[in-house]
Structures are given as C-alpha cells and as structure tokens.
Amino acid sequence: MNKLLALTLAACMASPAFAGGDAAAGKQKSQACAACHGADGNTPAGPDFPRIAGQHEDYLLKALKDYKSGARKNAIMGGQVSALSAQDMADLAAFFASQRGSLAVIR
C-alpha cells in the first residue's frame, strides 16, 4: 500500500502537465453539473444522465477532456465544458470522484 502511494506520488510529480484536481474547489464549480447529475453526482435528474459520484477521477477527467476536444459528442456536455479550463475540469473530476455513490464493479 505504501509502495502504491509512493508510486502514485512519484507519477504525479513526474507529469507536470497534469493539473491536480482540488475537490473543494470542484464543489464550488459544480452547480451547473448538479442540474442533471444531482448535487452529489449520484442522483441524476433522469435515466439518460450518468451517475458520476464515486467514479474514477481519471476517467471523469478524460470524459470532460473528450467533450471539450469533440472526441466525445453530446449536445449538453459539449456546451457545458466549452467554458471550463483544464484546472476546472481537474477540480470537478476530483470532487465527483470523492463523493459517495452507488456505482459498483460486478463481473
């Protein structure tokens, strides 16, 4: 476990391009997300909206980046991310990943 932590830390420090997400800052920026995904990210407003609470942080960040680059297309999300900076996206990913959610891993 310690080794894993050290490795993770080393990986973070070795990649200067990655702006580390700040969950508290992400919460401040999450009002727009709450309208569809729920304030906690676990209570979506409808079945078309995914749960994002407790989802892996790097996956959430990738999704946001893909919406911004156009690699992933969604009319709502494409509009939402257009005004977000790299730091905003990292913060939001950190916030929602840190929330308790009902997503699970099953075979």
């Binding site: 989802q55 996956y59 297309k73």
Partner: protein
C-alpha cells in the same frame, strides 16, 4: 396509403427508442467481453491511454444502452469499445444494459 403511412410513422415514434426489453439473465451468457475490464476492481486500460476503466454497474439501463449504441455507431471514440459494440445486436445491448443497470442498485 398516405394515411396508413402516417399512422405507421406515428406508431414507430411512440415506441421507446430501441424498444427491446432487456433480460438480465440472458446477459450472463453475453458479458465475457465486459468482465475482462469492467469486472476487475481498479483495472486500468493500457490502450489507447492509461486510466481506470469506468465503473458501470449501477448506471441506469438507459445510459448503458445509449453508450453501447454510440460506440456501435462510431459516435463515441474508444477503439476497444467500438470493436466490441460492433458485434452486439439491439437485443444484446438491451440485455447487457438490464444486467449492469441492476447491478449497483442497492
């Protein structure tokens, strides 16, 4: 003729999109491709970039079905998921959506 065509169109429109009813039990014979990545806690993809594969159990069946349909249509970009979704029928997608959609609901 025109009326019956219009009626037919109306009937089609009033059906839920991709109207298949999912059978979670049937999905158990179809999810061997899924479990190799999504069934392993903290599993990371190595291709095309490294990140944790998303947790999918507990999303709504509608969202899972939509994701698979988008991969199948080429509207969503992950190459592995596209390769897999290409082989899924509408019924397969409905069954897998029912299975994983029910999985996280506690």
């Amino acid at each position: 003729m025109r009326i019956s065509l219009a009626f037919l169109l109306l009937c089609t429109l009033s059906l839920p999109a991709h109207g298949q009813t999912g059978n979670a039990e049937a999905a158990k014979g179809k999810n061997s491709w899924c479990m190799g990545c999504h069934g392993i806690p903290m599993y990371k993809t190595a291709f095309p970039e490294v990140y944790y594969v998303p947790k999918i159990a507990g999303q709504s069946p509608e969202y899972i079905a939509k994701a698979l349909q988008e991969y199948r249509a080429g509207d969503r970009s992950h190459p592995t998921m596209r390769g897999i979704a290409r082989h899924l029928t509408d019924q397969d997608i409905a069954d897998l959506a029912a299975y994983y959609g029910a999985g996280g609901a506690k």
